[in-house]
């Protein structure tokens, strides 16, 4: 997982203190454990008593949680199953869909976080250090930023065939300018630090200065920013699905399950309730983890990010 490896990278440079602080911070603990459980759920989805999440059975549509029935398998044999979370309007098992749905949500969250940070980091480092490029890059970023993220994502979604890749792309593109700005602001302040200047005066070439002296300073803020982006991406994925421009509905995601189930909310709340709870808990955990990381890794971030 991206957060862990980067955190340990940062920890390696200041071995005892950071690690100890991370271990001591209850937010990090709580967020990390919940997230780990979610991750485990996603990875082990096939072994968690689930059935094929896209198995349609029109006879058993809209069953309330706890309904039991016989499931016909491919080979014709029948096994009894219990729909812990009921079935949806196509008779699919909501429990299986929610469990499998965690895969997509987490993939979207992590992929968007990693991609936007990697891309933003490169652009930010370069534009923060090469002055003539800075103006051009920042104007482009301004333009990108001027379009509200969700609108841009909606518009981008209509650009290509809906799919996981498209959703990730549509969510991560509007995030780039924010990362670039963060990185750039760090670069601009770090390049004035005496230790960077002394690296200049001992003849360290620019790429090495960026990697050795500037890059490490961006790691902690970026990890923190990354958790927020991750939470935001999970949320936006759900919103896009809700608006009908997200990942194709037959792929179970929490947003899709809710979008499909929302019209029956008053009669069969389980379609909205269970994925909603999973979604909220996951985002909550990521946010709390982010807060904890921020407090430990970079207290100054409180001001930059809010």
């Amino acid at each position: 997982m991206e957060v862990d490896s980067a955190a340990s990278a940062a920890a390696a440079s200041r071995p005892r203190t950071v690690l100890q602080m991370l271990v001591r911070n209850s937010s990090v603990w709580f967020g990390g454990v919940v997230l780990a459980v979610m991750l485990l759920t996603a990875l082990l989805a096939p072994f968690m008593g689930t059935i094929d999440p896209s198995n349609i059975d029109p006879i058993y549509r809209n069953k309330v949680p706890g309904t039991e029935r016989m499931l016909r398998l491919e080979d014709g044999s029948e096994v009894p199953i219990k729909h812990w979370m009921g079935t949806d309007m196509l008779g699919r098992d909501v429990y299986s869909r929610v469990i499998y749905g965690s895969q997509i949500s987490l993939v979207v969250g992590l992929a968007v976080a990693v991609l936007s940070i990697v891309v933003g980091l490169v652009i930010g480092l370069v534009s923060g250090y090469i002055r003539w490029l800075d103006g051009i890059v920042m104007r482009i970023m301004d333009g990108l930023m001027a379009i509200p993220a969700i609108l841009l994502a909606i518009a981008l979604m209509s650009l290509f065939n809906a799919g996981l890749g498209t959703v990730i792309f549509a969510i991560f593109i509007p995030e780039i300018p924010r990362v670039v700005r963060l990185v750039r602001s760090i670069v601009l302040s770090i390049r004035e630090e005496p230790y960077v200047e002394s690296a200049v005066s001992v003849g360290t070439p620019l790429p090495l200065i960026l990697i050795r002296h500037v890059l490490p300073n961006t790691i902690a803020p970026l990890i923190v920013q990354g958790t927020y982006i991750c939470a935001f991406a999970i949320l936006v994925e759900a919103i896009l699905s809700f608006l009908g421009v997200g990942i194709p509905p037959e792929i179970p995601t929490w947003g899709n399950i809710m979008a499909e189930g929302r019209i029956l909310f008053q009669i069969f709340p389980h379609n909205l309730l269970f994925p909603g709870i999973f979604l909220a808990i996951t985002i909550l955990a990521v946010n709390i983890l982010g807060d904890g990381l921020r407090d430990t890794l970079d207290p100054r971030m409180a001001k930059r990010l809010g």
Binding site: R139, I147, A149, I154, S158, L272, A280, N287
Partner: protein, 313 residues
Amino acid sequence: MLYFLIRRILATIPVLGMVALFVFFMLRLTPGDPAAILAGENGEPHQIEGIREALGLNKPILTQLTIWLGNILQGDLGESFFFNKKVTELIAMRVEATLSLAIVTLIITLAVAIPLGVLAAYKHGSWIDRLVMGFSVLGFSVPVFVLGYFLIFILSVQLKWFPVQGYKELADGFWTFLHHLILPSLTLSVIYIALIARMTRASVIEVLNEDYIRTAYAKGLSNKVVLMRHALRNAAVPIVTITGIGIALLIGGVVVTESVFNIPGLGRLTVDAVLGRDYPTIQALILVFSLVYVFINLLIDLSYTLLDPRIRY
């Protein structure tokens, strides 16, 4: 100051130009065909072709671009493919609803978030602080549509306090207007309150560590005076900044909220236009939203001069 204004306004031109080009080409590359959609459920191939011709969609892309840009320079954002109306007219019809939603949301937000944030900062580390922070993390975590449905279910359907849906214009009477707006605004403001309360808390805490706060205490001022007169005032710049950033967020939230509460605003117009591939409307809307964003940022920059005498342009 004037120079600053002029320079800033000139600087928006390339930004908007980029947005315009970006949006234009993005839309032309989409697989959707507005003509096919316009032809309707039973539209036949020859009808679609006729419509495509009538809309000028047959022309080369660059010609279309030239025409569009030429019209924009003359202040003409074009005509909606669907509604046989000027896009500007469509937007004008929707502005009030979105603006009202945004303003009421903003009022609720500031009225709740700032006191909460200041309180949390003052009681830094106490259970009140933890409660406020907990709420704000939670506020970030519940999707706005889930919240919207639950609020409608409880407050409108069960308790019948508020109407289920719809928007009433200000001209229909203020209380009717407000009555219809409170629930959507409340829904929308939750995430925003979370954001601003957090920011307020963080910046007030930071300000409370400043030397002049110590000076203020050294003058014998009471906690309340120090907090309100010295701390909050100095924390205002980051709070205003985040409020501005939040407006981009608000626009995103508006899209969802308007769908859930059936408010005929710009957000819903955008979704409809995107789904219907109504190119002129999408283009115009994104331009308008970008313009608003740029304009708000300008206002925020200007407000800094009021909040902080050290900032001069």
